[in-house]
Symmetry: C2
Subunit: 174 residues, 2 copies
């Protein structure tokens, strides 16, 4: 059975949607698709708001109730039946996210065991047959099949096999 590592933020969960919603709530400003095309959300934030923005990611509960990407739960359930699936999420940068991310998985993906969750700082030491991630930097040392999940910040990245949604993941892997 092949091993597969799947990222959480911006792949399984729509983390950017909540960041944008909180920023709109606090500063009354929305970002157009064009403004954030090819860049990190925090690069679009004025310098004087950066601390508040980082604070969102460090708020206990921020990662606890994120929306799942459309189709993610159903396709993960199927992938879990024919791959050795691991959810690998960079989490230690924002310590309160450790508990929130773990609790999210246990509640929203009840077919996933604690054995399948990996909360790390860097993905440098992760090796599986396949990795799905929205961050090209996580592929730097990765030797397996790299599948880039499209996100506003990775538009224009052309080095990797790409999927735009979970339907396409299902078509490729199931």
């Amino acid at each position: 059975m092949q091993t597969i590592a799947i990222d959480m933020d911006e792949v399984i969960t729509d983390t950017a949607a909540k960041l944008k919603a909180w920023y709109f709530r606090d500063h009354g400003r929305k970002f157009s698709e064009e403004e954030i095309r090819g860049i990190d959300l925090k690069k679009a934030i004025p310098a004087e708001h950066l601390e508040v923005f980082q604070g969102y990611l460090n708020s206990p509960g921020f990662f606890r109730d994120l929306e799942a990407m459309p189709g993610a739960v159903e396709v993960l359930n199927q992938i879990n039946q024919c791959y050795e699936l691991y959810l690998v999420s960079a989490a230690t940068e924002f310590p309160p996210s450790l508990k929130d991310k773990f609790d999210w998985v246990m509640e929203r993906l009840p077919f996933i065991s604690w054995r399948q969750v990996c909360l790390c700082g860097s993905k440098r030491i992760i090796q599986t047959d396949i990795m799905i991630d929205d961050r090209p930097r996580n592929f730097t040392y990765f030797n397996g099949r790299k599948i880039l999940y499209s996100a506003h910040h990775n538009v224009g990245e052309e080095r990797y096999e790409r999927v735009d949604n979970w339907q396409q993941i299902a078509e490729k892997l199931l």
Copy 2:
């Protein structure tokens, strides 16, 4: 620079000492070295106490104030200067341990960054040049140099290079 993954429980921290101390506090019983030679501590516990014992591991705070093994902090500090060091700990089985283990590292090993901490379920997907661990099962899929850290439960295991303490780790790696 070589990458190295080092386990926490029973390698960096003396987790068994606290388990034994709590069990003595609650049930007035100590374990001789002979009783637990070659077996897991929980296999020495009477069946009717197993739930209490597992409860220790799930107590918030249990992993927060563990004693470091003698020499561990000093040698880790040196290893950190000549290896790409990652602390890889199985933690998701006991969810409160996630925060406790992370906070322990940040407090007791201030030279370690959040980028170097990995809290996982299984170590199946970890690949580095070197791994130090007390559990032979964590070497099953590991392709690098395997160094077994001696613990009561792995006495008799002869398949791996072995160290008994941090002095020996320093001699081998520094």
